[in-house]
């Protein structure tokens, strides 16, 4: 199967059900549009829109303390916003599952996306987050499931980073 034929948003949505993840905290990204719509349309899933991604780190921690599994979905620029917030799951050994769609990689038109798109993953790694770079649509859902199992099984911070080559580049033409 070619990468483009894989419906990774539907696969992740299905995997969420299998993994007991029924709460989404998000600052949206174009690359997440279909997945977020699937989640919004699913009566079993609650989607909470944030003003900034760091709120999502707190929300995930609180939800898990209360026995509920959540995932933070964001654009790569959100990586920069969550740095100090990661102290909470990090120090407490609380699961923190993140899914980021990447900007600022090959084909990017907007240079302001490049710092977080290229160096954000290294920032996460430096802070103890396990990053799974995914450059093939067929590999997104398996990476997500593995990250979720590591996060919720071991109390770890895990990030699945979906490459721009999977989501496509943003057009700036009118």
């Amino acid at each position: 199967m070619s990468g483009r034929a894989t419906d990774w948003p539907a696969e992740i949505h299905a995997a969420m059900g299998d993994l007991g993840i029924d709460l989404v905290a998000t600052v949206p990204d174009a690359g997440l549009s279909r997945l977020l719509t699937l989640c919004e349309d699913d009566p079993a899933v609650d989607v909470i829109t944030l003003t900034t991604e760091e709120e999502g780190v707190g929300l995930l921690a609180g939800a898990w303390l209360g026995g509920r599994r959540a995932v933070l979905m964001m654009q790569s620029s959100g990586i920069g916003n969550i740095v100090n917030a990661l102290t909470l799951p990090g120090v407490c050994g609380i699961p923190c599952l993140m899914l980021a769609t990447m900007r600022g990689q090959d084909g990017e038109f907007n240079p302001w996306q490049v710092p977080m798109g290229t160096r954000g993953p290294r920032v996460l790694a430096e802070l103890g987050v396990t990053c799974r770079d995914v450059e093939d649509a067929a590999a997104v859902a398996p990476a997500f499931a593995a990250a979720a199992e590591a996060a919720y099984g071991q109390g770890r911070a895990e990030a699945v980073l979906v490459a721009q080559s999977v989501i496509g580049t943003k057009s700036f033409e009118r």
Partner: protein
């Protein structure tokens, strides 16, 4: 211990004691600094989750907890500086509209833990008005001795999300420190709720 100081201002420790001495099964999240010491002084308990850092995340953490435990009351106790760092989260909470979430802001108008530098609420920023504008179900600002009954009613009984600002006297109380080991805090919190450690 008198609720008011010599200038007629609310004192944080007796206020917290009066509000929370009778805590039952409520789930409490405290913002970093003095609110954590206040709740520890009231008497440490497994169902209080103290933040020692991650400034700005007390309200978002309370929101996540409220969404996970809709049948239980969640009370966030934090300071004006802490809530100001996460001011946007008041909008997030208002939009999510959890009926079981209450926020108490102990507002002394200063950054108490870092030397008492003047904060934004002392320069006219009204946190309760921000919450009201965002869409909280109810807000309250109190400053005097008659505060306790109104605060108790709002924090424990009224449909959320609700937010109360208690204008309190500045100055530091004796530090009463809760456990700082985050793994201990989260393990005992989940254990008290009968949840596996994961």
């Amino acid at each position: 211990m008198s609720l008011l100081d010599n200038h007629g201002r609310l004192r944080r420790r007796p206020l917290v004691q009066a509000l929370f001495a009778g805590l039952g099964g409520e789930l409490v999240v405290t913002g970093l600094g003095a609110p954590s010491w206040d709740l520890a002084a009231r008497g440490d308990r497994d169902r209080t989750f103290y933040l020692w850092g991650a400034m700005g995340l007390a309200v978002p953490t309370g929101l996540g907890l409220a969404l996970a435990r809709p049948g239980e009351r969640v009370i966030v106790v934090t300071g004006d500086g802490e809530v100001m760092m996460g001011l946007g989260s008041l909008a997030t909470v208002a939009a999510a509209a959890p009926r079981n979430l209450a926020v108490l802001v102990l507002d002394n108008g200063e950054f108490g833990e870092t030397g008492g530098q003047r904060g934004l609420s002392a320069r006219g920023v009204d946190i309760a008005a921000v919450a009201r504008a965002a869409g909280f179900a109810e807000t309250l600002t109190v400053a005097g001795e008659d505060a306790v009954d109104d605060l108790r009613r709002l924090l424990f009984e009224r449909p959320g999300p609700v937010l109360a600002v208690a204008r309190i006297a500045p100055g530091e109380d004796a530090k009463v420190l809760p456990p700082k080991d985050g793994v201990v805090l989260r393990r005992r919190f989940r254990a008290d709720l009968g949840l596996e450690q994961g």
